[in-house]
């Protein structure tokens, strides 16, 4: 019972980080109908940037987030302008899979050359601290990561629902033709949307680097997990990304702590399969164009 509850706590705290990563993925899909296979590589790039700021200048990874998100926002915009915009609109969804995978490989190569393939981790003074609550350990880094992920998701929610830009983004998601007729510049929204997705990857990367060791090849495992989360939650739905992340993290942690880590991934995929059998569009996805 103790292991079960401890696993539950770990799963919930970790879910926030995955929700943040997946929110960028699902945002990009919602706006552009692009499945961004480079999202995992962008998270790892965000982790490397936070690592570099921490080791070179002693900047705490949490405090580094405004810097890394700024840098990665512009990188995302550049990727959209250089690699995605030239694609023909009617083939964009299919070709973008290849293009974003190529971007992932490009980023992996750049990271390998810059930081080598040695596994890195960000070790702050509080990395191993934890609080004891009713006999259970709550890791400080995970708690902060969870709270910060909630904050970042909240800011994203406000941006999408309380700003002019957000209205343009939502309009583009719901009905791109009507949005264009009403004066929304679809291409500008796409660039900003991709930038925002990259920025969330940067924020999640800082936290990821605090929690797990990583190297340039870490994005392969990450992207498969992210795709599973957004498909489970429903492509294009940020609420779905949060729900998907919760299901993935909690089921993985609980099964790993009570049964076996070998079965934890399997359990999740069984859940994914069952959900897709009942709701092919995912938990929060809509069959037609929907909302974010």
């Amino acid at each position: 019972m103790h292991a079960l509850i401890q696993g539950l706590i770990l799963g919930i705290l970790t879910a926030g980080v995955y929700a943040l990563m997946a929110s960028g993925q699902t945002l990009i899909f919602g706006i552009m109908k692009v499945v961004n296979l480079a999202q995992g590589a962008m998270v790892i790039l965000g982790a490397y940037l936070a690592y570099q700021l921490f080791t070179s200048w002693g900047i705490d990874p949490f405090l580094a987030i405004p810097i890394t998100t700024g840098v990665m926002f512009f990188l995302g915009v550049a990727i959209e302008l250089l690699f995605l915009r030239p694609l023909r609109r009617d083939e964009k969804s299919e070709l973008s899979l290849l293009v974003t995978f190529a971007v992932a490989l490009l980023l992996e190569g750049i990271m390998s050359v810059t930081w080598s393939t040695t596994v890195r981790s960000i070790n702050t003074t509080y990395a191993n601290s934890s609080w004891t609550v009713f006999g259970y350990q709550i890791t400080l880094v995970r708690l902060w990561a969870f709270l910060l992920s909630l904050l970042a998701l909240g800011l994203l929610f406000l941006l999408l629902n309380r700003t002019r830009l957000g209205r343009a983004v939502r309009a583009s998601v719901q009905n791109p033709e009507s949005a264009r007729l009403l004066g929304v510049e679809a291409e500008r929204v796409s660039a900003i949307g991709f930038g925002l997705g990259s920025a969330t990857a940067a924020a999640a990367g800082s936290i990821y680097g605090l929690l797990y060791p990583f190297n340039s090849g870490s994005h392969y495992d990450l992207i498969s997990r992210l795709l599973s989360i957004v498909i489970l939650g429903g492509l294009g739905s940020i609420g779905g990304a949060v729900a998907g992340a919760l299901i993935v993290s909690v089921s993985s942690a609980v099964v790993a702590s009570t049964v076996s880590p070998i079965w934890s991934e399997m359990t999740f995929f069984v859940v994914l399969l069952l959900v897709l059998l009942v709701r092919p569009q995912g938990l929060f996805g809509t069959a037609a164009r929907g909302s974010i």
């Binding site: 292991a3 797990y212 609980v254 790993a256 070998i262």
Partner: protein, 413 residues
Amino acid sequence: MRRNRLRRLGSLAVGAVAAATLVGGCASSGSGSGSGSGSGPLVIGASVSLTGDFSDSGKAVQRGYQLWADTVNAQGGVLGRKVQLKIVNDASSPTQVVTNYQNLINKDHVDLTFGPFSTLLTIPASQVAHRYSYAFLAPAGGGPKVFQQNLDNFFFVQPAPTTQSGDVFANYVLSLPADQRPKTAAYAELDDPFSAPIAESIRQKFEAAGITTVYKQVYPSETADLSPVMAALVATKPDVIVGGTQSEDAYAQVKALVQLKYNPKMMYLSNGANSPLEFPDKVGAGNTEGIFSSADWFPGSTAAGSDDFTAAYTKKYGGTAQQIDDSSAEAYAVGQLIEAVAAKSHKVDNATIIKELHSGSWPTLLGDLSWSANGAPTGSFNLVQWQGGKLLPVYPSSIAQATPIAAKPAWGG
């Protein structure tokens, strides 16, 4: 992560072995084993991973080979012949490593070959060398499949097969008086050929001696988060924790235990904890105290040539003795063996090397080495323990620089 790529490379290895067999089959059997008995430089070829997954360790191997060559050349060479190294990059690819050794032997006509890094590359490479009757001394690559090939030209230049490296910890624990031995043990094992078997070998010895297994879990290499596994392990409150680990998972186990505030009476990690630089950096220096691991070479070793190696290494590459990678020492030992055979037999050809190394034991900086017919070394590793921020050999007593601390100090202290 990285291990996914290793798996992918694993499938490539099968192809590489097939390619090696095919090419070897087409070549004239037994053609030209490098005689090494001529005049002029003694040319030694080696394929080393200078890029790719194994590049860090591959470069350490290269440093070891080069340092030995420089050292022996400064003393006049081997039987008066200057050593000339021809090192080529295999990019950590089991396909490329086959091509490299084919070229080294058939195109460059090197006199001798030294091994690459990792079991993955050693298996196909040793088959190429065997096809041409070259002695194949490998400083890394001690997985079970290497020895299952039963190649008479192969010699693994470490004290014991990798999967037996933890036996020294079991021997130490079982040497303690009964009232000081742990009563219960937990095992967390990485599912790979170098990690889980080490812990399993310890478990068999412990169970035979009456130490109860309260938890055993094998985790796949893809496991991103070990905290749930360690939470379940902690719930069983074991006296001793045995980690069949590589590197990142070793760090993750320690960090999870610190976060879960559980301090076992003893802890052994098969790998990861034996890295003098990486381990304290990754888990925090205060959390290393009392943790056991296994090693073949350590600074301050009194084994043959160890002091000279340490001095030459720090002079050539800088840094401190503690910063020397084991792989460099193992590669250096390969050269020492060639020197020793030449000194004894006054020959340095492949047939002589194979014949001589199969008889008797040979002094190196890793200790005295000897091999069974399949190239598996017959010795044992040393038990090392973190004490006062240093990784010290503590068992067996013949090599110990400190007394083992049986009761692990608290985390952070």
